[in-house]
């Protein structure tokens, strides 16, 4: 990671992060020298590409195919054209209100969680980048939750927040004489989900930021210190600008990750508090899951919903990238 941050400046920032620096070598010479065939690189790419094709490319196009048909209850059905898309965009249809309610819920979570998780990750990384005793232990501690599966995280925080025997609920009742109904009323339900998500995923952002920070030359800080800049000035004028490509990466990944919210509300609130629109914390992906894999299993309708949400994610990612790359500091 540190080498990425200091990579040459040819490509776009994100491209450089994802694809490497792309510096040119006299390729043919090298090839001849090591006996490389022209198709050798493709051989190296093949293992991943095959898995990518089977598990992502194929399902994606198959999903598009299904969304134009009427698949339900575990069996294939006839071609129905745009029926499901029409329903999703017709306000009077029975699908409309619940689907868009779940999309709005997802957007609420993206808006709330992205600044929080990016900001907290940056903050933690700055702390962990200091010279302090047991630094590696702390780095480990913050990263460990990220290795857990969502079912474990959901259960842990359900036990913290549930209204009957939740640790937080009981502790607050004992010490404050009052506790909100964490999982059954808003804004508390969203706050519980945010706390669980923060605890679970903060380690990843922190580690990425930390790697970026370690790639910043110490000379810059020394020079700044000589000029009399304090810590905050150093952070604003050295750390932040140097981290910009990393920041773009983390924010993009964070938005995508937040769009994918599903397990925490599914396990902690069940999508509730209940509302006539299908639950106040039901995110789009949970709604899609319920439609496609519960009860009647309306797979085609769910596929159409998934594609609409995926299209939104692409748009948001593009906007986000444009915003960051057009800015000039």
């Amino acid at each position: 990671m540190s080498s990425l941050a200091a990579a040459p400046q040819r490509r776009g920032r994100l491209a450089r992060l994802l694809l490497g620096d792309g510096s040119r070598r006299p390729r043919n010479d090298v090839r001849r020298r090591i006996g490389e065939k022209p198709w050798t690189p493709y051989l190296f790419l093949a293992p991943h590409f095959i898995i990518f094709a089977i598990f992502i490319l194929f399902p994606f196009f198959f999903g598009i195919y299904i969304s134009f048909h009427d698949w339900f209850g575990g069996r294939a059905g006839p071609f129905v054209g745009l029926r499901w898309y029409e329903q999703l965009f017709t306000p009077s249809s029975l699908q409309f209100a619940r689907f868009w309610n779940s999309v709005v819920n997802t957007l609420i979570f993206v808006v709330l969680s992205t600044p929080l998780l990016v900001g907290a990750g940056l903050f933690l990384a700055s702390l962990l980048n200091q010279r302090l005793r047991g630094r590696n232990v702390f780095r480990g501690i913050y990263f460990v939750p990220w290795t857990l599966s969502v079912s474990v995280v959901g259960l842990i925080w359900w036990w913290m927040f549930n209204g009957n025997a939740g640790f937080v609920t009981l502790a607050m009742r004992d010490f404050l004489g009052w506790s909100p109904n964490w999982l059954a009323s808003n804004p508390w339900a969203w706050i519980s989900i945010l706390i669980a998500t923060l605890w679970w995923t903060i380690g990843f952002n922190t580690i990425v930021f930390l790697a970026g920070m370690q790639g910043i030359s110490a000379d810059l800080y020394e020079a700044a210190a000589v000029d009399g800049a304090n810590k905050w000035q150093q952070f604003r004028s050295i750390t932040l600008p140097s981290l910009r490509p990393i920041l773009l990466l983390v924010i993009t990944l964070q938005i995508i990750a937040s769009f994918q919210l599903v397990g925490q509300p599914q396990l902690m609130t069940g999508g509730g508090p209940p509302s006539s629109l299908g639950g106040e914390t039901t995110p789009a992906l949970l709604h899609i899951y319920n439609v496609g894999f519960q009860g009647r299993r309306e797979l085609s309708l769910a596929a159409a919903m998934a594609l609409v949400v995926a299209a939104m994610m692409v748009v948001v990612s593009i906007v986000n990238f444009r915003l960051f790359s057009s800015e000039r500091s």
Binding site: W159, A165, L183, R296
Partner: protein
């Protein structure tokens, strides 16, 4: 401003690079695809907080089924290997295995192998097995799953089994027998029913000045018990689920019981219209809301009421019969069980497991014979299935002295106490998606949950019924019923 490197960097990455920057879009797109592709499975059906489904119960004695199999269905000639799938991941799986073990001992030429599959993935695994040509020969499944499995070609009708074995409505409670039927064909032989029953804490009853041997039987005594326990003990008299992952289910079964008690029908005769917004439905949802509004019953998250009852903090609870083991372990002699109080009349919600034959056994006469014989034998020997925590469906088993006078360790004595409920239990229509009327989003359970949270019961039920009528119309067309 000591910073210059990044500034330089951004200037370099200018117009000439715009074209090359395009090359990241496939990568970004890939991320989004990964996101979309992965999201379906995250969270999945993992156990979640507590348990809200009929997974399992059971304790105590191992099974020793009595001799059977002398009915009309004869065992096949020659050696047969039969595979049976069941969804019994709880302790009930052990009882099922024990019954099969004695079958195998008794019939050296028919060897039955049992495979237990997780209930949440049961249908999906059957579908996968179907496409891989690996279907088992016999499956145990809830009645509500049968029509869809028949339509998808996984199960086959077994009218001839019923005929050969002399199975008819006289051998089972009528509702249980009818639930195993789809498009006027027999598709499953019922082995049990698992109704919602009424549990109470005898110790709290005594503390509250109530007679621990006289559980409430009607509206007045039920509400009096709620008040007495709430006022005279530290515990709640009753708790009402109002949110959480299991809310639609846990509220749904209470709604269904009251709905049946008021004489409600889920759909019109021809399944073209959802009718749970009838007076019986409104009455049922209104009553659940009334408990919260007028009697001060606290609203809780799903499963909280179950945990509180176990801990002695909740005096009464209506739960599926599969919770008996849990409650029995926690409360021991303080646990009381009884039929659901007749708020509006007799009736309760329930499910029913059936044994059914798959298309894998349909073509080979010997396999088919073995499958029929096994189902017949299991039905006759379902007394021990009662020990697993479910009420045996077959009348002669429930009426046997062995069952009625069951005593000692294990669940059988408790189950025998609850057995009369098998007569009043009712079911959702046996159609594809029948369970959706009650349990999934925009079903009656969700409408009742909204009513508990203060929505107008009639409005909530009307909206849900309107949606389900649309769904029924669509499904009638899709499945031709």
């Amino acid at each position: 401003m000591t910073n210059s490197a990044p500034r330089r960097r951004s200037r370099v990455a200018s117009s000439a690079d715009a074209r090359r920057r395009l090359s990241i879009w496939p990568v970004l797109a890939a991320f989004v695809l990964v996101a979309a592709a992965c999201s379906g499975n995250q969270g999945g059906q993992s156990a979640g907080p507590g348990a809200s489904g009929p997974s399992g119960t059971g304790a105590g004695d191992t099974a020793a089924p009595s001799d059977g199999g002398s009915g009309g269905i004869q065992p096949p000639e020659g050696d047969v290997k039969l595979t049976v799938w069941n969804p019994f991941t709880g302790p009930d799986g052990n009882f099922f295995n024990a019954i099969v073990e004695s079958f195998n001992k008794e019939h050296p030429n028919i060897q039955v192998t049992v495979e237990t599959q997780p209930g949440a993935e049961y249908v999906a695994r059957l579908e996968a097995a179907q496409s891989a040509n690996q279907l088992p020969h016999v499956i145990a499944a809830g009645y509500d799953a049968l029509p869809q499995l028949v339509e998808n070609g996984i199960l086959v009708p077994i009218d001839d089994l019923a005929q050969q074995g002399g199975y008819d409505a006289s051998m089972f409670p009528e509702a249980i027998w009818n639930a195993g039927q789809w498009k006027n064909q027999r598709v499953g032989i019922p082995i049990d029913t698992h109704p919602m029953v009424f549990y109470y804490n005898k110790k709290l009853f005594t503390e509250a000045g109530l007679d621990p041997e006289k559980p409430p039987t009607d509206k007045e005594s039920f509400e009096a018990a709620i008040k007495a326990i709430s006022e005279k003990t530290d515990a709640d008299g009753y708790q009402m689920v109002a949110s959480g992952p299991g809310a639609n289910f846990l509220v749904g079964i209470q709604f269904a019981a009251l709905f049946y008690q008021g004489g409600g029908e889920w759909t019109s005769q021809d399944f073209s219209e959802a009718t749970f917004n009838s007076d019986a439905g409104v009455q049922a949802a209104t009553y659940l809301a009334h408990l919260v509004k007028d009697l001060g019953v606290p609203k809780v998250e799903s499963d909280a009421e179950i945990n509180a009852f176990q801990q002695g903090k909740n005096g009464m609870v209506m739960s599926g019969i599969w919770e008996t083991t849990r409650y029995n372990d926690a409360l021991k002699d303080d646990l009381g069980v009884a039929p659901v109080p007749e708020i509006f009349g007799p009736g309760t919600w329930g499910g029913s497991h059936n044994l059914a034959v798959t298309s894998a056994a349909a073509d080979d006469p010997n396999l088919k014979q073995a499958a029929y014989y096994f189902i017949d034998w299991f039905s006759k020997n379902s007394l021990q299935w009662g020990a697993a925590g479910q009420i045996p469906a077959r009348n002669e088993v429930r009426e046997s002295d062995e069952f009625k006078n069951a005593s000692g360790e294990g669940l059988l004595p408790l189950i025998a106490q609850m057995a009369p409920m098998a007569e009043s239990v009712k079911f959702l229509p046996t159609i594809p998606g029948g369970g959706d009327l009650l349990f999934v989003g925009q079903g009656a359970g969700e409408a009742a949950t909204l009513a508990i949270n203060g929505s107008d019961p009639k409005q909530a039920l009307d909206a849900a019924a309107q949606y389900n009528t649309e769904v029924l119309k669509q499904n009638k067309q899709r499945y031709g019923f």
